[in-house]
């Protein structure tokens, strides 16, 4: 299936959830999805036989600056051989997004990483805690406005 057909079938099923779509240009063809319906859209993409997106390649958190955070999902279908990207945008002041851990287990660690480094909260994740940084770390380092702390547990950070 070409990306446009995939987007059309998502829109037919979830008319209110698809906010934007683009399938030309120097980027992977993507559809922007509303954060609260991402899980249902992903479940549909996985279980629909014509789409059959069985493989979540990558899940990335992004800080778009200007008070906007984002999550980007890169999906691939081993069965059908097509791939698309989904993008979700959440406000930095209240970054909540649905978890797709129940759709693809691989999202478990990816979502923990996005929570750890960006502070995006994935609602419905079974074990959402920091994964790369220590449990008592303050702040989310990959946000563009992150300030490196001067002290960590009383030790001076040398730069």
């Amino acid at each position: 299936m070409i990306p446009q057909e995939i987007f059309d079938s998502i829109k037919a099923k979830f008319p209110k959830s698809v906010l934007e779509e683009r399938s030309t240009g120097v980027h992977d063809p993507f559809a922007a999805i509303a954060p609260e319906s991402i899980r249902d859209v992903c479940l549909f993409l996985r279980d629909d036989d014509a789409l059959a997106f069985d493989f979540l390649m990558c899940l990335s958190g992004v800080d778009y600056t200007g008070g906007k955070l984002g999550v980007v999902y890169h999906l691939h279908s081993m069965k059908r051989g097509h791939k698309i990207a989904l993008k979700v945008e959440v406000p930095a002041s209240n970054p909540h997004c649905g978890s797709v851990e129940s759709v693809w287990k691989t999202a478990n660690w990816h979502e923990r990483e996005a929570f750890d480094l960006f502070g995006i909260v994935f609602d419905g994740h079974p074990d959402l805690r920091r994964i790369l940084l220590p449990d008592d770390w303050e702040g989310h380092p990959l946000r563009k406005d992150y300030q490196v702390p001067e002290y960590y547990h009383g030790m001076k950070v040398p730069y």
Partner: protein, 383 residues
Amino acid sequence: MEAALTIPGFHRSLKSHEMVLNMGPQHPSTHGVLRLELIVDGEVVIDVVPHIGYLHRCFEKHAEHMTNYQQVIPYCDRMDYIAAMNNDLGYAIACEKLLAIKVPERVEYIRVVMAELQRIASHLLAIGTYGMDIGAFTPFLYCFRDRERILDIFEQTCGARLLYNYIWIGGLSHDVPVDFQQKVKDFCDAFRPTIRELNQLLTYNKIFIERTANVGVLPADVAINYGASGPVLRGSGVKWDLRRNDPYSIYDRFEFDIPVGLGEVGTVGDCWDRYIVRVREMEQSLRIIEQAVASIPAGNVQSAIPKRIRPDAADLYVRTETPKGELGYYIIADGTTSPFRVKVRPPTFVNLSILPAMSRGAMIADVIAILGSIDIVLGEVDR
């Protein structure tokens, strides 16, 4: 819990309770600094909670703070330091796609030879240390002897033995030395018999099979749902290799087979299957090297290197097949000389997340065998 009830002499009336056992971060079988929290009932593992991040240095933040795209490459080297060439190749291909650069034929061929030599070197380390995890020390020395020959070729080419900074955006840092083709051919001829030697020494060793067959079985559908890739996925019987299924560089020009796990000594997807896939992949890599090295065209390896790297605003996810699996770079360019965001999808990060699912119900000693069969590199898991 169920498995514990089948142990002879275990009585229901006997009081038992779960115990938490820490393995690592300093433990010979964790291949670096990984801490596993084992929840055990006697010898039986009920759950495993991996704790990672001991080597975290936030590669992604570093990449955003470089003054240009080229400067990121030495950091890519240091992710999977066992297979640095493949990491550089993935990043270079991603940047070339953003810039729409066509690299010269000579560069493509040399890159393929380097990437496949590196794949053999990485698999040799994986196989050698895996044998050592199980208790076979000698194969480790044999594997390192052969790996040394590959590192010598790399050293002659770019001066470094581990972290090369060799594959640049649009080209290579150096051309290969004059006797490169002969050296690689000599290596291929000398290495092929040693695979047979390795099979006699380790692969079909009865003790080794006892320890790895039917252990840590990973069914294909579970592997796909967990996003497994590389030998872990192919060990489960899925014929999936990005060099064939989503070709990049010039891999579509070479003949090679994709070995998969067949359950020859146990069940499809057990530790032995993941191991044997690596052994057979080395033979296939040799085939690719021999085809590629015989037809390296003449040319300048630096003619396509851009003077200024400044891609237009765009975002791309580019994936390549490293020895460990699918390495993806998601790069967002914003029209400046440094990337706005670089997200790495490390293959072993994803493969390691399957460990709890594979280890439940196994013995503690089996966890070592399962962990070794995933072939993790903590530099890449933690980034």
